[in-house]
């Protein structure tokens, strides 16, 4: 049951962070060394309300880029245990929280992911305006938290902060902070709704997004995307793996044995379906031989209605990272622009 609470001001949020940090490692997004990324933070430093969403997503906290699964030495074979300690991601954005909820479903039966996930407290800070290149609103993934969070904070125009607890863990934190919690609809909920509407109004109109998605799904009245269109996009894919690495919902991995017969590790790495070798079969046959076929498959996985029954939503949360990192200028907005703006 969702519960609402009022924090007097930003200082009250900082004291909430100190309370959280008593029992958990506190990770926040900070600007450092010419970059913006998640890092362990000292709660004594004030929260950075202005920092943009980082290029790396938060998926590495649950699904590390390199992870040892098993170790062997001579005739012993042992699972490499997950050693998780309680931590908090404080200041996750709505898009990434939505992606986390998506990955929770994908990894529902992955004990390593779930072990880390159990130790995490997710505190979303709602976005009050569209970020550069973000289109979470069109993808139903923001700018305010809708899924994948324990606690969401909204900075209101009058300086108060509305807190929404979605889980017991969220309510426990509010209780520890001795903040009065009110269930259900209230004046505070109405204020948060108003802030959400104001934030949504900052998104520029982009009708090509819906038009492009309609074409990918071959909806009535939408012209299907031809092979030729996908193949025209293909040469722009350099198979760099940037989109799949940064995408908060991409979850493909490759399992590799490293070492020899004496000892070694079975490791999983983040993989990428844009690599030619991802799907090449031992015979040399390739089910997606043209780079354009691989680009098509990637966007099919992100934007097809076929995956909605399993995941409850599309695989794209509109974070805009692929548009930044794609050296071929074929991130989500560019592809949807190319598909959706044609008559």
């Amino acid at each position: 049951m969702t519960a609402f609470a009022e924090l007097r001001d930003r200082a009250a949020v900082d004291s909430l962070r100190r309370i959280i940090a008593r029992e958990r490692i506190l990770y926040e997004v900070r600007r450092y060394a010419d970059t913006i990324d998640w890092r362990e933070c000292d709660p004594a430093e004030p929260f950075d309300w202005a920092v943009q969403r980082p290029l790396p997503s938060a998926k590495r906290f649950f699904f590390p880029p390199r992870e040892t699964l098993l170790r062997w030495e001579r005739d012993t074979l042992a699972e490499d245990p997950v050693v998780a300690t309680p931590f908090a991601l404080f200041g996750l954005r709505a898009c990434d929280a939505t992606a986390l909820a998506y990955q929770d479903r994908f990894f529902a039966r992955d004990p390593r992911y779930q072990e880390r996930r159990r130790h995490a407290l997710i505190v979303v800070v709602d976005c009050l305006a569209a970020c550069d290149g973000g289109f979470c609103r069109e993808m139903d993934a923001g700018p305010f938290a809708t899924a994948g969070f324990d606690l969401a904070l909204t900075l209101l125009a009058d300086g108060r902060v509305a807190a929404v607890a979605a889980t017991d863990a969220g309510r426990t934190v509010l209780a520890a902070a001795e903040v009065a919690v009110a269930p259900g609809p209230s004046a505070l909920a109405a204020a948060r709704d108003a802030a959400r509407r104001a934030a949504e109004a900052t998104f520029p109109p982009r009708p090509f997004i819906a038009a492009g998605i309609a074409r990918i799904n071959e909806r009535a009245g939408a012209r299907p995307v031809s092979d030729a269109e996908w193949h025209a996009l293909g040469p722009s894919c350099l198979a760099c793996t940037g989109c799949t690495t940064l995408c908060p919902t991409c979850s493909c991995f490759a399992v590799v044995d490293e070492g020899g017969t004496e000892r070694g590790d079975r490791v999983r790495y983040w993989d990428s379906c844009l690599l030619e070798g991802f799907q090449r079969e031992a015979s040399g046959h390739h089910p997606a031989p043209h780079p354009g076929d691989r680009v098509r498959r990637f966007w099919y996985h992100k934007l097809s209605d076929d995956f909605v029954p399993e995941f409850g939503r599309y695989g794209c949360v509109g974070c805009g990272r692929c548009d930044v990192t794609c050296p071929g200028s074929i991130g989500a907005l560019r592809v949807l622009g190319a598909l959706g703006e044609q008559p």
Partner: protein, 671 residues
């Protein structure tokens, strides 16, 4: 900063429990803008490879065996001292690494010149852009990229020559692709149908080794139609009439017969390039790795100068450097004829400055190049060699000759990350620290000097190159006194005017600085030669056609050229340890046109033997119209199928660049 090609992309290493777990891009970086190529995304994969060298090795009973630093340094120092005592300083040499930091290269340069007393110091630029340095020095006075990577985005036309940019410099390729997506016209000059060639408005698919006839015919059309930049040439050029007279011999229809490019296409390319004020020329090894490499560079320089495109925002003549720090290795004077900052060893004032700083007299005679040292080794004149981070057995032409040179040495000291094919010939192998394990600076292809910072401790006993050289110098009784990378950089800035205004603090405050940066208030230089050229006026130099040293004939009927794949770097000693990159490699390594494949009785995946006058190599065929009929192509990365068994080591007489891009071969099915 990424450790692979010369683009100099910014990256951040994720570290957990002393181990690098992943690579993250830098959104604000001026060159890479939050992007990386597949190599960059996998830059950490080799760091903890089980085959990484973590202890020194010395040769005992013919085999390399682990040793302590004390033992290994003693072997290295004794070997060098023996060669020095018996045959003098010309019998020793140092080959430095375009992969190592500026600090490492400066230390190698000082080690050769001040500790060993020889100008025998070089690095691998010999086999990539020595012709650029030689050619552009003659025409404008400086061999570096004249403009910045960001200028690609400001250009109104892009001319890409002999560069498979999206594969070899993918993030510069990204700037090209985004310009292309905005509708900026692109002309590609390349014998292969590269990705960019397929996207270009105009692809001039010239026959291998015919750049000069093509460019002369373009100039012919430019002068004939009055498209040259008359005011610019009057103010900034010289020797214009000589060029005008020389290219009169190359009407486009004559060039069409030599180059296979239709005359109309030659004229159209010339018109569009010449009449677009901001036209940016980028080129790669397809220009330089020829027996006429220096003259090829001069030809393209003539084209850029005649049309007024050098010293202009969004334009310029831009050699794309292949290695993360090949620009820096040149800047640091890891070259036989210049000290750091291109100060000639023959310039007594420059020598005096270094003599004052180092307390030793320096030789005024230029030393031997890499291939010169190899030849001297085969002839017995060179006895001992220190080789840092280079794998000439895989990457240099004429593999058997390289091996013979290495075997002939009395003492070979190799500083390496892995036991490369070259390191297997060493008497002592010293384990080096990688880019992630040391502080220093790299200088990217756009002259941007950027900091690298150690993210983790080196494994085992590994040390940075400069510290290894310092330890050998100390043992030879001539310590250099280097104790930190920052201290070396301060010495670089003191002795190298183009780096004069740089400090670690200033580099940290920005994403590096672009040289020249003369003093501590100078902001660095994005576009060179805006007001004048280093040599004064830009010189136009007529060049004639030099056909490749070897032509196809009945016995060897096909051209072979070499190229690079996007997912491998160099000899693969780093990238081939990344499982997902290794998975990308095709099973066949000989690209052959369908018509030639049919003529040779070869299909996709057929095992083939490629023979030349120098040797043979076996691989599988990959049938593709990326190559024109009559030309086959092989990537040079793979020790299991090295094209350098068959390539030609004929040299460019000016820069001593071997002609790696052309030789004549026969292709046959393996029985």
């Amino acid at each position: 900063v990424c450790p692979f090609c010369g683009v100099g992309c910014g990256l951040v290493l994720g570290v957990e429990a002393g181990r690098v777990t992943d690579v993250r891009p830098q959104a604000a970086h001026p060159a890479s803008r939050g992007q990386l190529c597949a190599k960059g995304w996998n830059a950490e994969k080799f760091l903890r490879d089980p085959e990484r060298l973590t202890t020194p090795l010395i040769r005992r009973d013919g085999r390399l065996a682990p040793a302590s630093w004390e033992e290994a340094l003693a072997v290295a120092a004794d070997g060098l001292r023996a060669a020095l005592d018996e045959a003098g300083p010309d019998a020793v040499g140092v080959i430095s690494s375009a992969r190592a930091t500026n600090e490492d290269n400066f230390a190698a340069m000082r080690f050769a010149r001040a500790v060993l007393g020889t100008n025998n110091v070089d690095h691998c630029a010999r086999v990539c852009h020595a012709p650029s340095v030689a050619g552009l020095s003659r025409t404008i006075g400086s061999g570096a990229m004249t403009n910045s990577i960001a200028d690609v985005g400001r250009a109104d036309l892009l001319l890409v020559v002999g560069s498979d940019t999206t594969e070899n410099h993918p993030i510069i390729g990204s700037h090209l692709l985004s310009a292309r997506a905005r509708g900026v016209p692109m002309i590609v000059i390349d014998p292969r149908r590269t990705r960019l060639a397929r996207m270009a408005d105009l692809h001039l698919q010239l026959r291998l080794g015919t750049d000069i006839p093509l460019v002369n015919a373009m100039l012919h059309a430019i002068f004939a139609s009055g498209w040259e930049a008359l005011d610019y040439l009057a103010a900034r050029g010289e020797n214009v009439d000589a060029l005008r007279a020389a290219v009169a011999d190359w009407p486009p229809d004559r060039a069409a017969r030599v180059t296979d490019v239709p005359a109309a296409a030659i004229v159209e390319g010339a018109r569009r390039y010449a009449t677009t004020p901001q036209a940016c020329l980028l080129y790669g090894l397809g220009v330089t790795q020829h027996v006429c490499g220096t003259e090829n560079v001069i030809a393209y320089s003539n084209l850029a100068l005649a049309t007024g495109h050098v010293g202009v925002d969004g334009a310029g003549i831009n050699p794309l450097r292949g290695q993360n720090n090949v620009q820096g290795a040149c800047d640091m004077g890891a070259l036989p004829d210049v000290l750091s900052g291109y100060q000639s060893v023959q310039d007594s004032a420059a020598r005096a400055k270094f003599t004052t700083a180092w307390g030793v007299e320096l030789h005024d005679r230029p030393g031997l190049t890499t291939l010169g040292m190899q030849r001297a080794a085969r002839e017995g004149a060179l006895r001992a060699l220190v080789l840092c981070g280079q794998d000439p057995v895989v990457t240099d032409p004429g593999q058997r000759e390289v091996q013979r040179a290495l075997r002939a040495l009395d003492c070979l000291v190799v500083v390496e990350l892995f036991l490369t094919e070259t390191a297997k010939y060493a008497d002592v192998v010293l384990p080096a620290a990688s880019f992630a394990e040391k502080d220093g600076t790299f200088t990217s292809t756009e002259r941007r000097v950027q900091r690298v910072r150690g993210a983790i401790e080196p494994p085992g006993a590994c040390r940075p190159d400069w510290a290894i050289l310092e330890a050998i110098a100390t043992r030879l009784g001539r310590p250099m006194g280097f104790t930190s990378a920052e201290q070396i950089f301060a010495e670089i800035a003191r002795l190298t005017p183009i780096y004069g205004g740089m400090t670690y603090a200033r580099l940290d405050a920005h994403f590096g600085l672009q040289w020249p940066c003369w003093d501590v208030t100078h902001p660095g230089t994005a576009v060179l030669h805006q007001d004048r050229f280093p040599r004064g006026r830009g010189r136009l130099i007529p060049v004639g056609h030099t056909p490749p040293a070897e032509q196809p004939d009945l016995e060897y009927p096909l051209w072979l050229t070499t190229f690079r794949l996007q997912h491998v770097y160099g000899s693969g000693s780093m990238t081939r340890r990344a499982p997902l990159l290794e998975r990308e490699n095709p099973c066949g390594l000989l690209w052959i046109h369908p018509a030639d494949a049919a003529a040779c009785g070869v299909a996709e995946g057929t095992s083939v033997r490629i023979r030349s006058r120098r040797g043979e190599v076996t691989t599988r065929a990959l049938v593709s119209d990326d190559v024109p009929p009559g030309t086959v192509a092989m990537p040079y990365h793979f020790a299991e199928a090295p094209p350098n068994l068959v390539t030609n080591d004929a040299l460019d007489p000016i820069s001593r660049m071997p002609e790696l891009k052309v030789c004549a071969v026969a292709v046959e099915r393996c029985a």
